[in-house]
């Protein structure tokens, strides 16, 4: 889907549902999704004000949090560091709905 104008439901915390990944596609679900236990999950909190909160499993398996900015450019989701104009990560949004966000690298 084209997401030139982010839909309201995109503004939430999305958690990596790695059990559902296929090939190079990563599946994310809302934080309220019933996830099975895992050694760790990445999440991205896409906030309305353009900031993003990241959480990743850290070196000792606790969650490691960091912050940055995000924007939608056509079908691309760009994640920027807290400072700087070069995106740290760029994903192609291959499908998006209120309960499922699918991203592909590049």
């Amino acid at each position: 889907m084209a997401v030139d104008t982010p839909r309201e439901w995109l503004h939430q915390e999305w958690v990596h549902s790695h059990e559902e990944d296929r090939d190079d596609e990563m599946v994310f679900r809302p934080a309220s999704f019933k996830f099975p236990p895992s050694r760790g999950r990445r999440s991205i909190d896409l906030r309305r004000d353009g900031t993003v909160g990241h959480a990743r499993p850290g070196p000792d398996d606790r969650r490691q949090r960091s912050a940055g900015r995000w924007e939608i450019d056509g079908h691309a989701l760009k994640l920027f560091p807290a400072t700087g104009k070069t995106p740290a990560e760029v994903y192609r949004i291959t499908s998006a709905s209120p309960d499922r966000l699918v991203l592909r690298s590049g």
């Binding site: 790695h18 059990e19 996830f35 099975p36 236990p37 895992s38 050694r39 760790g40 999950r41 990743r56 499993p57 850290g58 070196p59 000792d60 398996d61 606790r62 969650r63 490691q64 949090r65």
Partner: protein, 288 residues
């Protein structure tokens, strides 16, 4: 990890101790020797922190975890035969084994298992399970014991650890009760005790094989594990190539990746050097 970073910022001594340990490990890797050549037996105290009857796991379940650790750390786990042939030669005995403590800090006899009732339905990854004031159980002296807290954890987490050199009061590992041991409430795909194997690896200073970055720039400070981009989950098919590490790809069957219990099978020779360096350094009083 937020706690790990917070400690590094708040406790400069922790940063210094970690830097000093890395320097010693570097020398050890260059020399290729360890001070301890014999097998080290680690005395373990297990704090079972429970609210419900299910969470009060049996002694048999606790002992099944100790047995699993002993197989994995002595490389006597039968499933090591599943390691791809290219890496069979790297499968290494860590020369570490585990036994429930038989004496408490006061010198009295103990089973090595403490049952502590709590009002907490689940604990976050913030060390609160390690203090009575926050509904947990106080650790035994970390110079002598490996403290293992077993409880319900929030956010679907299986466990977390603390590296050597951190505060004594929170030293040890925390494991979800349903991912602990190989019987009782242990639930597949985390029913082979490998969450314990992984967390003890951190306690002995091992890092994740993807180096804790997702752009190939990180390192696990170990030369014989290929550089990998991401954690691997589930039961990957060999080979899984990332970070130009073909043709064999990620060593996802290493205990320090994130795969299911039945997909992690080995430590390497250099990982064992790192673990033994921690037993020669910040954990020198363990098993002595």
């Amino acid at each position: 990890m937020q706690v790990h970073h917070r400690l590094l910022e708040r406790d400069p001594e922790f940063r210094l101790r970690q830097a000093e340990l890395e320097r010693k490990i570097h020398n050890r890797l260059a020399a290729g020797t360890s001070v301890r050549q014999a097998v080290t037996t680690v005395p373990v105290v297990v704090h079972v922190v429970y609210k419900t009857a299910d969470e009060k796991i049996t002694a048999a379940q606790v002992k099944s975890q100790i047995a699993a650790l002993n197989k994995d750390y002595r490389a006597t786990n039968p499933d090591k035969s599943k390691v791809p042939s290219v890496w069979q030669g790297l499968v290494t005995d860590a020369r570490v084994q585990f036994a429930l403590a038989t004496r408490n800090p006061a010198g009295n006899k103990t089973s090595g298992i403490l049952y502590v009732r709590t009002t907490q339905a689940a604990f976050p990854d913030d060390d609160s399970v390690k203090a009575p004031a926050t509904g947990g159980s106080a650790g035994w002296p970390s110079a002598r014991y490996l403290n293992v807290w077993v409880c319900s954890l929030g956010d679907g987490l299986l466990g977390y650890a603390q590296f050597p050199g951190g505060p004594a009061k929170t030293d040890g590992i925390v494991i979800l009760n349903r991912a602990f041991g190989t019987t009782g409430t242990a639930t597949a795909p985390f029913r082979l005790g490998r969450t314990g194997t992984h967390e003890v690896g951190h306690w002995l200073n091992l890092r994740h094989i993807w180096g804790d970055t997702e752009d190939c720039s990180g390192t696990d400070f170990v030369a014989d594990t290929p550089n990998a981009q991401h954690p691997n989950y589930g039961k990957p098919r060999f080979p899984h190539v990332s970070c130009q590490n073909g043709p064999n790809g990620d060593m996802f069957m290493n205990y320090m990746d994130y795969v299911d219990d039945d997909a992690m099978l080995m430590f390497t020779a250099q990982q064992v050097v790192r673990m033994q360096a921690s037993l020669d350094g910040p954990r020198a009083t363990i098993g002595k």
